[in-house]
Subunit: 496 residues, 2 copies
């Protein structure tokens, strides 16, 4: 079996044994087994399902087996949720049964110093050719195949008796999440569900006794559902392997990485968290840069940049135009771009001439400034946004456009969003957008932009950072000769 | 009349004339006059109200005057919304009438090169002793007095016929907004309304032909409703005056400033926006630092830091503890703190000893790490958060606590928020909090923290940045000997 096909068993198993399946609702073994049962009932999970627990005959209507070896059918994947010291025995059973993939959710291994126990598990797995995810992880969540190993229940009951969504399962989306921290992973799912961005595949790999982040990334390269990979790591054990794999992937799919433990105190905390030696932060910086991985240093930016890369093509250069109806926010976007190395240069004389013509025709305000930003001022209308944007799209010296359309401006109608989105379809030039505010219309404008494939943000700086990532990735692809092919594939995938 | 009493006329006038009041719903003069009418009807605005428009006898039921001079009663404030070239005549009328304050909403002055016209207005005002706000501004919004000069209608009607909140008027809150950019101001109101933080007073000062940001700040020093001042500027004309005033204010109230135009391209954009010369960014940095102004460089941070300073006392030092139930997010907070100069040092031996005792008693998990962060792990409960927090509050070497309580952790109940908030009342030690996610429970946990006076954020880095500002401000106050008095007043104000 090829590596990719074997890793695929974690996401698309035709048969799963859940070892430690339980009737007790507070137990992880209950929650995980129930996830599978419910997804099977809904027709999302299509594999065979076997609870394993020697003390039960039936769990949630399914025949329960005392051990894996007694299951009559084939078992492709086992999910293990029992105390750590009993895991080696289960792994031996799995080997006997001919299982090829195991996820060990249980903790109590190297993360608390039990290196020997973990080594024991790894040795059994290697001999039997079983690939192992974990231990000490949340495992896999796949919105498409219905595999859901999250032991965090979807809702919680408050002391008042009220039930609330606590660990939502996001719908299918374009971003995959690969995370060393389970807690970060769970909260990423909550974010991606609440913002309706969704997730293609989710993997929490924990102690990575066998399958590591590099192999997961490599697998995701071949996953059609995944356009962008979001990676959270505290350390990377095999840097050389990571760089090789990352280079291969980033030709075709962006990787956005949040590597924490970058400071002295952060590294100390990372060591006590997963036992990992965080290593020199500068080395990580260099490794990410050389392999085309976009490193960000802030959780929000991870999601924001991921959305930008999922929605928009990368920029073919670093000259960016800002189109705005608000002077101050326009300047904020410019500051952010320029302080991070982008070019916000004055428009070409040809473009200025075209803008002056628009002014004469009364199509943009006579007092609009056109030095970059093109500031339509508080007199802006939807038509003016469209006229102005067209000239910026047409300018070959401009590689990307940040649109700041504050809805508060009196004469601006909501259709400026559709106009810009329609226009942008005629060009291969990335756009990011901003509207500020937290009430009805602001939420509407941003979600409309998102729906039409233009990533929208609630601050000018966030819209600028999205563009910065699109430029950074575009320049990497261009330098290495991959840009054209990437853009071609990207457009195909977006038009699907 | 003292300066402060005269500036107070902008916010608490006993009589207002609206020059340019109109019946036409699309006109700014309609919207502004209607704001006053509605707030008067609701009993919020208590002053006399006079529409001025030579072409009408009645507007919205109010007797309309052909000019200010024909109004029989006293007029304390005029709000002017007519074409720029007619403003000098109105100012002369105001002088004759003995008006002492004028807000010129109209644009068409120095921002488009009409310096002479602006000069003309200023000369009339100076001779007559009229203080002028504007021109080219949004004027004043005061949630307490009912003064609302925003010409941006509260709702907009979409092309579908649906009505949506577009420029909400926030409820009363602890933060004042002073802004050079009207558009930024409008979107700040939208943010402060949607996040339910509210606003105490809002001033958009536009071209500042007379009253400038320094005078506004000075006025706000005496405003009991305002705990924190948020300032947006593109340039400060009189740096010396600003520093003097700012020094006086920051002893008693924090000023958080977003000064844009910090880059070369940003400064160019600022110049074309308000005609201001942005000046060297380093000089601004030094001026803000010397006068205790907290400079931030990101719009979201402006609001986040404002909330922190409104809710929590400043820190008396820079040793910060992180209490978490999630390893990864704990490290992110540590990275952010340390990269910005805070100390996340290991806990004292006394504190470690106490934590070890808790472990022996089973009050926190035996495998919790206590090197700072104190990581309660995914086994955390509300009781554990309380026990752990108490020890950190009791440690005199710790000056502030960042609490990361990811609600996804299975055994954690929502009452950990109340427990920490109650505990914190016994100490004068700032706390900021984080829960990650965008669905039901995450929103609930954050809003509960906020309600109990602990500023909560959706990312570990944001919670860290809030603490960084509390430390920065605390160290400034301490260095200058103001800390004790500030904290005393702050506690009084919070307990009101």
């Amino acid at each position: 079996m090829s590596d990719v096909r074997q890793i695929n068993l974690f996401f698309n198993p035709r048969s799963v044994a859940v070892v430690g399946a339980s009737r007790k609702v507070t137990k992880a073994g209950n929650i995980i087994f129930k996830n599978f049962v419910e997804n099977k009932r809904r027709g999302i999970f299509k594999g065979e399902l076997y609870p394993v627990n020697p003390r039960r005959k039936l769990i949630l209507g399914y025949k329960c087996y005392p051990s894996i070896t007694e299951i009559t059918g084939k078992v492709e994947l086992v999910v293990i949720i029992i105390p750590a010291d009993k895991v080696p025995r289960i792994m031996r059973d799995a080997a006997v049964k001919g299982v090829k993939a195991a996820v060990i959710i249980s903790s109590g291994f190297s993360e608390i110093g039990n290196h020997e126990l973990e080594e024991q598990v790894t040795t059994i797995a290697r001999k039997a050719g079983i690939r192992v995810l974990g231990p000490n992880c949340l495992g896999v969540y796949d919105s498409n195949s219905g595999v859901d190993m999250l032991f965090l229940p979807e809702t919680k009951v408050l002391s008042t008796g009220d039930e609330m969504v606590a660990t939502p399962r996001p719908m299918s989306g374009y971003m995959a999440v690969v995370t060393e921290s389970g807690a970060f992973g769970a909260s990423a799912l909550d974010y991606l569900a609440g913002t309706q961005l969704g997730v293609s595949k989710f993997v929490s790999f924990g102690n990575e006794c066998d399958v590591d982040e590099s192999e997961m990334l490599h697998y995701l390269l071949h996953d059609e559902k995944t356009r962008v990979i979001l990676l959270y790591v505290e350390s990377i054990e095999s840097g050389r392997k990571f760089m090789e794999v990352a280079k291969e992937i980033t030709r075709e799919k962006p990787i956005v990485a949040l590597k924490s433990g970058s400071t002295r105190a952060g590294a100390r905390a990372a060591m006590s968290h997963t036992g990992a030696i965080a290593g020199s932060d500068k080395i990580y910086d260099a490794a990410f840069m050389q392999s085309g991985v976009i490193r960000i240093r802030d959780m929000d930016e991870l999601f924001h940049v991921g959305k930008a890369l999922a929605f928009q093509p990368p920029a073919a250069g670093d000259n960016i135009a800002v189109l705005t109806d608000a002077g101050g926010p326009g300047i904020m976007a410019v500051d952010e771009c320029e302080s991070r190395g982008l070019n916000i240069k004055e428009f070409s004389s040809r473009t200025i001439q075209k803008l002056e013509e628009l002014k004469k025709e009364g199509k943009i305000p006579a007092f609009a400034t056109n030095l970059n930003p093109l500031d339509l001022t508080g007199s802006a209308t939807s038509e003016m946004f469209e006229h102005g944007a067209k000239i910026l799209f047409d300018d070959p010296e401009i590689h990307g456009i940040i649109v700041i359309g504050l809805h508060q401006v009196p004469a601006l109608q909501e259709d400026f969003v559709d106009r810009i989105a329609n226009l942008s379809k005629n060009y291969v030039k990335p756009v990011s957008a901003c509207d500020i505010g937290e009430t009805e219309m602001a939420l509407y404008i941003r979600s409309r932009f998102d729906k039409l494939g233009i990533p929208a943000y609630s601050s000018p700086e966030d819209a600028a950072r999205a563009m910065i990532a699109l430029v950074q990735y575009g320049l990497y692809l261009k330098k290495n000769g991959y840009l054209e092919r990437y853009v071609e594939n990207f457009l195909k995938s977006v038009r699907m």
